[in-house]
Symmetry: C2
């Protein structure tokens, strides 16, 4: 064989890094879904060693030499090399002692946060959060010049490359305006409808689990390359050829399990559809957190909560659980699973008010990072923001600024991804419906395949060759346009 080129060497190196990360991903799944509690300490060490090995491969002097020398041919290689350089810049911009200090501070803060949330006692965690913020500011300051971005955008870039505050601010402002009239109108319409009837349990967990698996398969997940298990919080993990999704079950209600599984199935289908020709290369990876969320939400919110799909799902649920047929009528399921409500907790929010929770966090975290908002003033600022956005004030900090793990674990710049994903999902669904006429007819038969076929080509197979807005432009003819999400909400909640 001829001498490998610099690009060839990089291919090998990034494949090795990706393979190490696959090990970490599998062990992360195991920790959440399988591991006995006594394995926790050793697992922490295992994850740290794997992270260290991957980091060492990436920041090796030879990576830099090869990146300087490498030449790419064609669109895929060019995108891959750009992504390799981007990863290298991000990894080498941070001093090792900062990375270590962050790992320690985030881990300590997160532990204290669990207690503080239970006690609804912000003061308890405040000094830890201050340290996390201080170190995250240092991280942002180190990344910013290396990436040629503002400090906050450098953090956002770590979650959805190429999308910054300037992209998001006007989109969120427009949504705030929409919500101000749409939410009262939706509430008024909802008040005129019959109250939804809740299916009465208990629902055997064995039956729920079998249903969830059947549903996930029906949506297109191939269980020779996937597993469905249980964990405290539903997630999708594993690797592209071996995805692991989880959910949780309660006997009194199957809703949570079923909707979590269709959501995680959306994530899993995306991983399964990534371009296998570019497996283990940066260009073959998912295009970022917002795109990932668009794929879970297009399956959960756009497809599976549609009238068409509910008309198929209702009889399936009735056949599974038996009992009174009324709650399983599609119109009732629609009223039950598509209900707007001003509420305190983001993860329980409906799709119309959810963005308000994100907008609040987006504004607060920018202020925390810039220093305009002190951690000590966070609870007050939170409550004011909730008042302004949704007109409600949390009764305590557990239902306010202590509810989410993210900041207390050092994740800043992540929250916008949820709403960017929701908006992208609506925009992609609209484009798919234009391109493939029988999507809804198929959903009415419980068949996702026409939609999935379109997503495979227009989203999944793209990998990371295109960034967020370029991907949307290629798939839908325009960059992110919140009008499509608003049109979706208008049709569903005000139509």
């Amino acid at each position: 064989m001829a001498n490998p080129t610099a690009y060839d060497r990089l291919i090998d190196r990034f494949a090795r890094i990706a393979t190490i990360n696959e090990c970490a991903s599998m062990l992360g799944w195991d920790a959440a879904a399988m591991m006995p509690s006594g394995g926790g300490a050793a697992r922490g060490d295992q994850m740290a060693v794997l992270a260290g090995l991957a980091h060492a491969e990436l920041t090796d002097r030879r990576t830099g030499d090869d990146l300087a020398e490498a030449e790419a041919v064609g669109e895929w290689q060019t995108a891959n090399l750009t992504l390799m350089r981007h990863a290298y810049v991000r990894a080498t911009a941070l001093p090792a002692d900062l990375v270590e200090a962050q790992a320690r501070a985030n881990s300590s803060c997160e532990k204290v946060w669990r207690e503080a949330r239970k006690a609804s006692d912000f003061a308890q965690v405040r000094p830890y959060l201050e340290e996390v913020i201080r170190l995250t500011q240092q991280e942002a300051a180190a990344l910013a010049p290396a990436l040629g971005l503002s400090p906050y955008d450098a953090l956002m870039d770590g979650n959805q490359r190429g999308v910054g505050a300037a992209d998001v601010t006007p989109v969120f402002a427009a949504y705030e305006g929409f919500l101000a009239t749409a939410l009262p109108a939706a509430e008024e319409r909802q008040a005129r409808q019959p109250e939804p009837i809740r299916p009465q349990g208990p629902f055997s967990i064995v039956a729920q689990e079998a249903l969830c698996r059947r549903l996930s398969e029906r949506l297109g997940l191939d269980f020779t390359h996937a597993r469905l298990d249980r964990s405290a919080h539903p997630f999708s993990g594993g690797t592209a050829t071996d995805v692991r999704i989880t959910t949780r079950y309660v006997e009194s209600d199957f809703t949570q399990a079923v909707l979590a599984v269709v959501h995680e199935t959306g994530h899993a289908l995306y991983e399964r559809g990534l371009p296998s020709d570019h497996a283990r290369q940066p260009v073959g990876e998912a295009a970022g957190m917002a795109v990932h969320e668009s794929q879970s939400l297009i399956v959960e919110m756009q497809a599976c909560r549609s009238d068409a799909f509910l008309s198929w799902l209702g009889p399936e649920l009735l056949a599974t659980f038996g009992g009174d047929a009324e709650p399983y009528r599609p119109e009732n399921l629609g009223r039950l699973w598509r209900r707007v409500e001003r509420s305190f907790i983001r993860v329980e929010a409906d799709e119309m008010t959810y963005p308000a929770h994100v907008i609040l966090r987006f504004r607060l975290e920018q202020a925390l990072m810039s220093g305009d908002l002190r951690a000590a003033d966070l609870p007050g600022a939170w409550n004011e923001g909730m008042k302004a956005l949704l007109g409600i004030v949390p009764p305590d900090d557990a239902q306010g600024c202590l509810q989410d793990i993210h900041w207390y674990d050092g994740a800043f710049g992540y929250f916008p991804s949820y709403t960017l994903g929701a908006m992208a999902a609506a925009q992609l669904m609209m484009a798919a419906r234009r391109a493939v006429p029988d999507i809804d007819a198929a959903l009415g038969r419980g068949d996702l395949s026409p939609l999935l076929g379109w997503l495979r080509v227009n989203v999944h197979a793209i990998g990371s060759r295109l960034g967020f807005n370029d991907l949307l432009r290629a798939a839908t003819g325009k960059p992110l346009d919140p009008a499509d999400f608003q049109a979706h909400l208008t049709a569903r909640y005000l139509g």
Copy 2:
């Protein structure tokens, strides 16, 4: 902190290597117990990358420099440094291209062997086995001078350090002599006893699994540090603080599942009892394959198949499965689970004839390695050996020289560990009974703790500080002495 010494640096390096190996161990468990088939290819890459990383850490030039410079203080450090040097010598003695060629050849041969065994067609796998043997001979030839051992002993050393053919040959010869009279006598005695009654199923697999878990806990396994799952072949894996045992279930018979679980529980208890002060250091590891097998067999064969334990287990089984009480009477379980039989398949053999299967393999693999036996002549030599040792001739090679994966996967020098372990288990049990008078009374209450307490101190807590015979000497007053195993068999089968 003062500058780290060479020994300090080695501690860190070997801890890192052990942590990488923990990742591999967990992923190995996952592959056997959890992974969907589609994950197999990626998993192979993951395991290869982890093996490569661990090997690179071990063979790094700096490891050699530090090993040359390091000084140890006290018994544990001295043993640890000796084991580090030993590991380094083994790893650096082999050229990288040989290691790679072996990985490829073993993997190819193992795949063909699966087909050949199904078809009982030795000719099909013969050329692959020849290549495996050729490369294993090269491995042995490379290891031998580095370790100062004969080539075959260099292979044995990889499974049970410090034990060679010269230790094993007289022990096996003595056993062969014992067997020549003991086996016919045991058969004759058995023929005079009533036929054992098999419990009649079906036995719900859910009930079997719950029983197995309860039994394993009863024997002392703490499930905050362990899991019990299912796999095609029972095994014990994971790590010292997170052991993973598996078994398999069939509805028609619970015997296999229950006995496999008590066996694997023995392995798991050993891992759990290793000295945590020396975790992730060579001296803190299990003392070798023969010692490991002694710990599974002392629990399964010595303790759980004893009259005392069966008198507790019988009523437990009856309470679990119900039905006719007769089969669960302890005397019947004894006749059922302690039956000698001349049979073809090693893994199904009883404890008296099992060593004959090992002796055959021990002799044949030495001849294969030395070149005295050609692969082409293996089937004939196998059948002659079976005739000489057990007086039976396999009807085909699937029940003869094709039955075990070991050689076809490149494992030579491993088989003796099984019988060394069985003999050590008997010797340890005898010493434990002398030291702790109430072992059998406790077993009669389903209580392993007096025996386990003694094993904790005399075997588990030793880690690898002592080699096989030194460990036995410290625990029992003598090196391996097959007389104790023969006395055990005489009492159980001829008494």
